[in-house]
């Protein structure tokens, strides 16, 4: 292992397995909104509800109004989707939402503008942007991190940046105290899991099945063991996503997980039945999640 001091004064270790690993001074009071959100729900023995929406779907104005309405409907943490032409981990519902969004002219910059607008009225709900590496890579990781911080974004989930490839973005995020949230999956084996969770910030996103977003959940009831496995490896909250579509399922998952993520069902309802119906769905999902341990 070799060390080098980067221009920002953080010590970077070059680990042959994991590329760039930050081992610098302890992370400052970072990812504050995320921590406070989990702390608040935990104190009340409630699970956190994480809601996904595709930014800019079907257009900027509609999408902004929907985004602004999420906290009042019960969303504790917002995952704001960045549209991409080639969303290879997503099912048709989210792919089509991305197509509508891009058609309306949405770019990565638009997504950050939406976050900025949201922050004018809400300074407590965490926003995690979620998408694929190329738009960020094209903007430049350093520029993106600075712009995201300025926009009031708290972190990011980048699907096609596994631990082996996320070193550059993590270094850029560290400068601005942003959380780069990693995914753990059923294929993440016992040897790999500790190393995956070691580099994540804010929370660990457990993808509860092998597959794409929106697929139906095959193995009901197995979440408990999976969550226990990830929690044993991580000192962070664990949220569970993929395959949760109904309040019943959300309630079941929320019994064991620190948080429950719903994406496709929200995006689908917004598109097919409009914002009011989508917010109704969110209220029922959030309520089921919050009260899952009652």
């Amino acid at each position: 292992m070799s060390y080098a001091v980067s221009p920002i004064g953080v010590i970077i270790a070059n680990d042959s397995d994991w590329k760039v690993t930050l081992t610098g001074g302890k992370a400052r009071a970072m990812t504050q909104r995320i921590e406070q959100t989990f702390a608040k729900r935990k104190a009340a023995n409630e699970a956190v509800f994480v809601g996904y929406m595709m930014g800019g779907d079907p257009d900027r104005a509609t999408s902004q109004a929907f985004l602004n309405a999420l906290p009042a409907a019960g969303v504790d943490i917002i995952e704001l989707g960045i549209p991409f032409t080639d969303p290879m981990a997503d099912g048709l519902v989210i792919e089509n939402a991305g197509i509508r969004s891009r058609k309306a002219g949405t770019t990565l910059t638009t997504i950050l503008e939406m976050a900025t607008e949201f922050r004018k009225s809400d300074d407590t709900t965490p926003i995690i942007v979620m998408g694929y590496a190329n738009p960020l890579h094209h903007m430049g990781y350093t520029d993106f991190a600075a712009a995201a911080k300025k926009a009031g974004v708290d972190g990011a989930i980048i699907v096609d940046l596994p631990p082996e490839e996320d070193g550059e973005l993590r270094a850029a995020f560290e400068v601005h105290n942003l959380a780069l949230i990693r995914l753990a999956t059923p294929t993440t084996d016992a040897e790999r899991l500790p190393r995956v969770v070691a580099g994540t910030k804010g929370f660990v996103y457990y993808v509860s099945m092998t597959g794409i977003t929106g697929a139906s959940f095959a193995q009901a009831g197995s979440v408990k063991d999976q969550v226990a496995r990830v929690k044993a490896a991580a000192s962070l909250p664990v949220v569970v996503g993929f395959g949760v579509k109904t309040p019943e399922r959300a309630r079941e998952v929320g019994k064991d997980a620190d948080g429950v993520v719903v994406g496709t069902a929200i995006v689908k309802t917004l598109h097919e039945d409009g914002a009011d119906a989508a917010l109704d769905l969110i209220r029922s999902l959030a309520d089921a999640t919050h009260t899952s341990r009652d």
């Binding site: 042959s16 590329k19 549209p83 991409f84 032409t85 080639d86 969303p87 290879m88 981990a89 099912g91 048709l92 792919e95 197509i99 891009r102 770019t107 990565l108 910059t109 694929y132 590496a133 190329n134 738009p135 960020l136 890579h137 094209h138 903007m139 699907v159 096609d160 940046l161 596994p162 631990p163 082996e164 490839e165 990693r182 995914l183 753990a184 999956t185 059923p186 294929t187 993440t188 084996d189 790999r192 995956v196 993808v207 092998t210 597959g211 794409i212 697929a215």
Partner: protein, 408 residues
């Protein structure tokens, strides 16, 4: 730039300089690491090499000839032009070299469900062929647009027992077929082997596919030494993802005196914006598991590629080509749809060979280079596929109506 003899890439992280890598969802990381390990073991196993050699010789029909294209040489009026006749392989293209290797590896790994993406259908046909021979289930993802323009290959795959799944999303071409194959893999990760058709995708695919295709260059080098007693001045090949070019180039990379020239598809012209020339008209980005040159807009969205050739209609290129480009070891030029159409016809009339639309792109640059090098020059061009699959597209472009004769 490293000395020519030091071209030992990729590194342990799958990097060719700053290109390559493993940009996949976490779900796919363990399987690609497993694949890498299995490939390394197979590579070191003489039994695997023996099995591969057997199938390449008796089933694929290797070695393919190195043929002196005398009348094309006369027409060009310069350097001697040789064709490496990989269109004479079983299934009519170089693609089967790689499928043979990957499916023998799949067999070793105990995987019985094979998935593949295809553009022109050549990789799909080759995968379906080898899967049939080895008794494996085969599913081929193909863009809806490509299914229309490559009907004969679609029917061929079905005859071989493969299931062809139409991909309607995005631009409904090769890149979308690759997205869909990745979605399948991430869903069926336990029993499925993804047979990628080109030198792209996450590590170890770019290196593994190159290694399986490198037989082209190894044979060509020995054959040109026998025919001419010296190395060629240049090796020329068309490039979509770049597997036939990498296969021809690899053996010659350490020989700095051999110019390596890749010809991308310029579609209606690189300036028109309607093209598939990632190196000539793109910039570095991340797609389909690797960092490489891509066609993309100012916001990092992938741009649509355009080419009359379905096999070159891809907005990216293998990462090793990006590396050879940046260090200046290989040169990358382009040819338009019209040039490819023109030289397709010239080649048919002069040499009695119907080239596929893909290598038809390499012909105009080969002829120009022959003039530039003069009578003492020596060129090898990879004739990587035969044109039978393209006759309907070509008839269309020439304004003639012929019946497809098969269902679509």
């Amino acid at each position: 730039m490293g000395k020519p003899e030091n071209f030992a890439y990729p590194d342990e992280n799958g990097r060719f300089g700053e290109f390559g890598g493993r940009y996949v969802a976490e779900t796919l990381m363990p399987p690609i690491l497993e694949l890498e390990k299995a490939y390394e073991e197979a590579k070191a196993d003489p039994e695997f090499a023996k099995e591969m050699d057997y199938f390449l010789k008796h089933y694929v029909g290797r070695p393919s000839p190195l043929y002196f294209a005398e009348r094309l040489t006369e027409a060009a009026g310069g350097a001697k032009i040789y064709f490496k006749r990989d269109e004479l392989n079983h299934t009519g293209a170089h693609k089967i070299n790689n499928c043979m290797g990957q499916l023998l590896l799949a067999k070793r790994m105990g995987k019985k469900r094979i998935i593949a993406e295809t553009g022109a259908g050549q990789h799909g046909v080759a995968t379906a062929t080898v899967a049939a021979r080895l008794g494996m289930e085969c599913i081929v993802y193909m863009g809806a647009v490509d299914i229309v323009r490559q009907k004969p290959n679609v029917f061929r795959m079905r005859l071989l027992g493969a299931e062809v799944r139409s991909v309607e999303s995005g631009t409904a071409t090769l890149k979308d077929a690759m997205n869909e194959a990745l979605r399948d893999w991430v869903t069926n990760v336990g029993d499925t082997f993804y047979c990628i058709g080109t030198v792209a995708g996450p590590h170890p695919y770019p290196a593994m596919v190159r290694d399986f295709q490198a037989v082209i260059g190894r044979e060509a080098k020995a054959q040109i030494m026998e025919a001419e007693g010296r190395l060629p001045d240049a090796a020329v090949a068309c490039i979509g993802g770049g597997s036939n070019a990498m296969g021809l180039f690899h053996e010659f990379v350490p020989h700095g005196e051999v110019r390596l020239i890749g010809v991308e598809a310029a579609g209606k012209g690189v300036k028109s914006g309607l093209h598939a020339a990632s190196l000539t008209g793109g910039s570095p980005g991340i797609l389909h598991g690797n960092r490489t040159y891509l066609l993309q807009d100012e916001n990092g969205q992938i741009a649509d590629a355009h080419s009359i050739s379905a096999g070159l209609d891809y907005p990216g290129i293998g990462p090793e080509h990006s590396y050879l480009h940046d260090i200046g070891r290989a040169e990358y030029v382009s040819a338009t749809d019209d040039e490819a159409l023109h030289w397709f016809q010239e080649c048919a009339r002069l040499e009695g060979i119907l080239p596929a639309l893909e290598p038809s792109h390499a012909l105009p640059r080969t002829v120009e280079l022959a003039k530039e090098l003069g009578k003492d020059g020596l060129i090898i061009m990879n004739m990587c596929g035969r044109g039978d699959k393209d006759v309907f597209t070509i008839a269309d472009a020439l304004g003639e109506h012929i019946s497809a004769g098969t269902e679509g």
